[in-house]
């Protein structure tokens, strides 16, 4: 069976616009975003993450290098924003517990969303190196849903041989801790992988990356979601981009 957007009862197309960063290389996002710290930390002593007063509206996540002997408690402190109660709470905090002996690459996330800079500090237990960052994902309002397909289209706004369109399935499994680099989120699909060679952006040329017939269950009630990354190695490869997700609410 072929699932084409709008042609099968129950499939809802959800669209997001995207564009390149106005820099030479980097990653922009659609439908949400990741903001990764470049290198891991033990949060002992306390560190600050994020820019003061920047409205991130995102969860703080950790990817551990593996638990120590005894539980490790890490405290995140800052200003939180509740999307469900419409409440800003200054000087809020939340603890994340890395359990004793947990496996490397284990993902943790605050339940709260944060705005502005946060501080992250070891409260108790052994030091544990963690990748960390902010994550904001498209969750379909906390329901379980199924990704049936996606389609990204754009017009090349510059030449770039290093472009990629990547879909991540934000979830608690499938992460990879990296020493000296940001963590790798759970990868779903990559244009460079699928297209192998023909993934370069050229000025004024149109591009499209799509997949249909998917059946990726995204359980937003467990904090899962979708994030698309638009990777560039040169100047503005993506112009007037649109990402469409084929969503089945069930």
């Amino acid at each position: 069976m072929t699932y084409r957007f709008g042609c099968l009862v129950g499939i809802t197309p959800i669209s997001f616009s995207f564009a390149s960063l106005d820099v030479g290389s980097g990653t922009n996002y659609a439908a949400g975003y990741y903001k990764h710290a470049d290198v891991p930390n033990e949060f002992n002593p306390l560190i600050n993450f994020g820019t003061a007063d920047n409205p991130y509206g995102a969860h703080l996540f950790l990817v551990s290098a593996g638990g120590g002997v005894g539980d490790t408690v890490i405290k995140v402190t800052g200003t939180s924003w509740s999307t469900t109660t419409h409440t800003r709470s200054a000087v809020d905090s939340e603890n994340i517990t890395i359990v004793s002996g947990e496996a490397a690459n284990t993902f943790h996330r605050t339940t709260k969303d944060w705005i502005g800079a946060v501080s992250i500090e070891l409260q108790s237990g052994p030091d544990v190196l963690c990748n960390y960052g902010f994550c904001n994902t498209w969750t379909n309002l906390g329901r379980a849903w199924t990704l049936k397909g996606f389609r990204a289209t754009w017009q090349g706004d510059g030449n770039d041989a290093g472009t990629d369109v990547v879909l991540y399935h934000q979830k608690s499994t499938g992460w990879t801790y990296n020493a000296g680099a940001p963590a790798d989120p759970p990868l779903l699909y990559s244009m460079q992988t699928d297209y192998n060679t023909e993934y370069e952006s050229h000025n004024d040329e149109f591009g499209c990356y799509s997949r249909e017939g998917l059946s990726v269950v995204v359980d937003a009630s467990l904090g899962e979601g979708i994030v698309a990354a638009l990777v560039q190695s040169g100047s503005r490869p993506f112009g007037n981009g649109t990402l469409m997700l084929g969503v089945f609410n069930g």
Partner: protein, 256 residues
């Protein structure tokens, strides 16, 4: 298996900052727009022209009453109309806005028709009084009643701005304020970014950001000239562009 998309749905609108040279404080709209005349007029004697020739506004003409009336006032709006239900363009069309003598100051009226290009507005009956006026175009879910259950903004900061803002507006006929010599004030918004976040509302070059509120349940009578408009303030001077690849997503429902 649950089929919910008829009960709850999403509407997404993308946006980027404007590229302008001269404006000092840039404001633009997403999913609709307001375009107000910065002042007022009594449309008498003679007709007042509004809008740029051949500009495809596709919008209703609105007026906000600025003075008490002494009799029934008829405002005649003339121009080229566009009917988005029949797909018919009508040159030389007109519509009367008839306002009863008891209508109080700050009352809001709009044409049922949409207009493209320049229109003229003239007091065609009664004693002329001052009004604010302008264009309005809004998302009304194909003229259906719906409930706004929430919204989610995501965006990338491409230039630092500590004075920007985002506003979710419920376009409706009540809650307007006439302003002499200036544009009218629309109804109190459903959400304002700088109010919600209070302090953490500075956009920084190179940082993503998000604003989400899913606590709402606001009835929008799209079948009765109501709708949604997303208003964006850049808060920076000149052609600097703080917002890249912005998306505003409305969460909608067919019931409360």
């Amino acid at each position: 298996m649950t089929y919910q998309f008829n009960l709850k749905s999403r509407e997404n609108f993308g946006f980027d900052s404007l590229v302008v040279d001269a404006e000092t404080w840039d404001t633009f709209y997403v999913g609709g727009y307001y375009d107000f005349f910065d002042g007022n007029d009594d449309f008498s004697p003679g007709a007042v022209s509004f809008g740029t020739a051949n500009s495809p506004y596709g919008a209703h003409l609105l007026v906000v009453q600025g003075e008490a009336l002494v009799d029934e006032v008829t405002l005649k709006v003339s121009g080229t109309s566009w009917n988005d239900e029949t797909g018919v363009r009508t040159a030389g069309d007109d519509e009367d806005i008839v306002i009863g003598s008891a209508s109080p100051v700050n009352s809001y009226y709009q044409t049922t028709k949409k207009w493209i290009g320049t229109v003229t507005i003239q007091t065609a009956g009664g004693t002329a009084k001052n009004f604010n006026y302008g264009w309005c175009e809004y998302f009304n879910k194909q003229k259906h009643q719906f409930w706004l259950k929430g919204f989610r903004l995501t965006c990338y900061g491409d230039y630092s701005s500590t004075s920007g803002d985002f506003v979710v507006r419920h376009h409706k006929a009540t809650g307007w304020t006439y302003n002499a010599g200036a544009a009218p004030t629309p109804p109190t918004p459903l959400g304002r970014f700088t109010t919600d976040y209070s302090t953490e509302n500075d956009v920084h070059d190179g940082d993503h950001f998000s604003w989400e509120d899913q606590s709402l349940s606001v009835q929008i009578d799209g079948h009765d000239s109501e709708g949604l408009i997303f208003e964006v303030y850049e808060g920076v001077a000149g052609g600097d562009r703080p917002y890249i690849a912005g998306n505003i997503e409305y969460s909608l429902s067919t019931s409360a």
